[in-house]
């Protein structure tokens, strides 16, 4: 019998491929999405951790893909929720650190409200990531303006109207954005 240590174990990405849960192209698509969602997370949480964890949840049955939903969209959603889980845990840990201080606490409604205020460290990291995204599209002012508008929560039609873009100009800028993100996401350079 072969010793267990010598038996190569398939990782979730390889298992997902072997089980035809995703195709090779979809795996590359998921890689670029994972690289996107890893933005601003601590260095010990890599894009591959996000992707492997999301696939593990599907493979173990912890998350079931509902009928009619594309596996890529579902797995991308799991990665998004893993990202948001991280920030929730981060915020809770910070609140515990603050509340365990030696100062006396006066739980007034104003202070309770402050608990829900944005975390300064989270804001700082997010601002740095926004700057990194701006740098990514620094040579493309139209793309940059579209991304600004997305950050403000505008929908496609509102963006086109606000920026006075024709449908062709808007679609062409979106294509450039997609191409740039794919190029960035396919590499394994540090975030």
């Amino acid at each position: 019998m072969r010793p267990l240590a010598d038996t190569p174990a398939l990782r979730p990405t390889e298992t997902a491929l072997a089980l035809k849960l995703v195709s090779e192209m979809n795996l590359l698509r998921l890689k670029t999405i994972a690289r996107l969602h890893a933005r601003g997370l601590p260095p010990d949480i890599g894009w591959d951790d996000l992707l492997q964890e999301a696939l593990t949840r599907v493979l173990t049955g912890a998350r079931r893909i509902p009928g009619g939903i594309a596996p890529v969209a579902f797995i991308a959603g799991i990665m998004r929720s893993l990202r948001s889980e991280h920030w929730k845990r981060f915020g809770a840990a910070r609140r515990r650190r603050v509340s365990s201080g030696s100062h006396r606490r006066y739980p007034t409604p104003e202070l309770e409200g402050r608990e829900a205020a944005p975390d300064p460290e989270h804001s700082l990291i997010a601002a740095e990531e926004l700057q990194a995204i701006e740098r990514l599209f620094a040579d493309d002012p139209v793309a940059l303006r579209i991304i600004d508008a997305l950050g403000e929560g505008l929908a496609a039609e509102q963006i086109r109207a606000t920026l006075s873009l024709t449908k062709t100009e808007y679609d062409s800028a979106r294509k450039r954005i997609r191409r740039c993100l794919l190029r960035e996401g396919l590499t394994c350079r540090p975030k």
Partner: protein, 92 residues
């Protein structure tokens, strides 16, 4: 002057942007992916393409991935290996 994103809380803006860009990537066609890969000199259609780094192959290779473990142990414990060691720097 480039327009600035930060009109709302940066984390809110970032999450909105990431969600919108995620949709762009979900909708990207196979041809888009292949074009982007070819821009980088990658050939995803070929076995062993760098595009699959971190997916089918780990990012970091260990010596055991290239060399037989028993062979490495023999080489590392071979007393003649001392000849391969660099010279100690001499003090001037």
């Amino acid at each position: 002057m480039p327009p600035k994103v930060i009109q709302v809380f940066p984390e809110t803006a970032l999450e909105r942007i990431l969600e919108a860009l995620e949709r762009e990537l979900i909708e990207a066609s196979d041809a888009d992916i292949l074009e982007a890969a070819h821009d980088l000199g990658m050939k995803p259609e070929m076995k062993g393409s760098a595009a699959f780094l971190g997916l089918r192959y780990p990012d970091m290779r260990r010596p055991e991935d290239y060399f037989d473990r028993q062979w490495m142990l023999r080489v590392l414990s071979d007393p003649r290996r001392i000849w391969l060691a660099p010279k100690e720097p001499t003090e001037s």
